[in-house]
Symmetry: C2
Subunit: 208 residues, 2 copies
């Protein structure tokens, strides 16, 4: 373990501060995946990360602070929504990515959802992350409108995206049904068919 | 507290055994709603129910046993799916019921979902209950086919039902977005539009 006081030079991106954060958040993800949030402790994370406990307490204060930071770090990732050339293809690819993140064993994504039931701060961070991700995905709908795949400019993109992706979360996380390899495409297809049939439209009086 | 040994007469429905179960499960629901599953203890339930701890341990063994029984009891309820005269109306009514159960404060339904992340037995009981409820709701699709609202006999009823209801769970339980009073109807409408456009069909080679 090494933990000298930070110098100014160490605070630059890629410097010591960033390196310690990366080590600690890697340890949080590993502990979450192995033990769930119930088994997450400041001590366990410090030991696994090879960082002084005092540093972990000073920067993250408590387990809630670790959870919030690991969720925030996911939002800082350079994630790009799929771009396959069709809305159906994009939503299918998005759903495949979601399905993988939920099925990988152990799943950090599922562990973070479980933690959000128990930590109000983690829940808020999670809501911020989801909101950001769905906002990033609105480009899929904009591209679909440009290609003439979506009926008008008056599409409620977030409702469409939630309709397309919600069945994955519902089946795998809450219902815990056996995974269906066709579900990513079928859920995408159903959302696109509903869109073309006039669902998810923003009425003028609501779009103000 | 009263807890004499059961007599045969007490085991009949409505007898002493059934009454003690009702008291204990009422206490489990109240404790879950107030404290979440983390705060659920055999002692807390026994005290709240006014039943001897020894009885609670003997019949339910541990907290997992209490969770399983409270979920199983929900499945034993005489619940009937809505029957409004149209598929869209039925799915909207179903979604309204779901939305209420998720938004009531405190929500036993949400507490049970949280518990299912931590107890494999509770998760299995929950999956049984969901599977049973979705099976009960298949009648909505059968009626829609009879009324000519659904395009054919080859509709995958469960996929349709999951598509209609999943956005409620996703928005309220996982995303924790502000409740949208129009969501029950909009999610129902999107599912019906997708159905009419050919989504949720069982291809012949899959229906064997």
């Amino acid at each position: 373990m090494t933990d000298e006081p930070d110098t100014t030079a160490d605070r630059r991106p890629g410097g010591r501060t960033a390196r310690i954060r990366a080590q600690v958040l890697d340890a949080v993800r590993a502990e979450l995946a192995e033990r769930g949030h119930e088994g997450l402790t400041m001590e366990g994370v410090a030991t696994r990360a090879g960082v002084h406990r005092a540093t972990v307490y000073r920067r993250w204060r408590d387990v809630g602070g670790l959870l919030v930071d690991v969720i925030d770090a996911a939002g800082e990732m350079d994630w790009q929504p799929p771009d396959t050339g069709s809305l159906r293809g994009d939503l299918t690819a998005l759903n495949q990515e979601i399905q993988e993140s939920l099925l990988v064993q152990p799943s950090v994504a599922v562990a973070l959802m479980a933690a959000s039931f128990h930590s109000e701060r983690a829940a808020q961070a999670q809501t911020r992350l989801w909101t950001h991700r769905y906002a990033q995905c609105e480009i899929l709908v904009e591209r679909a409108v440009e290609r003439g795949e979506a009926p008008s400019q008056h599409t409620d993109a977030r409702s469409l995206l939630i309709a397309a992706t919600a069945p994955l979360y519902h089946q795998l996380v809450l219902l815990r049904l056996d995974p269906d390899p066709r579900l990513p495409e079928r859920a995408a297809e159903a959302a696109v068919l509903a869109l073309r049939a006039g669902a998810f439209s923003v009425r003028r009086d609501e779009s103000v």
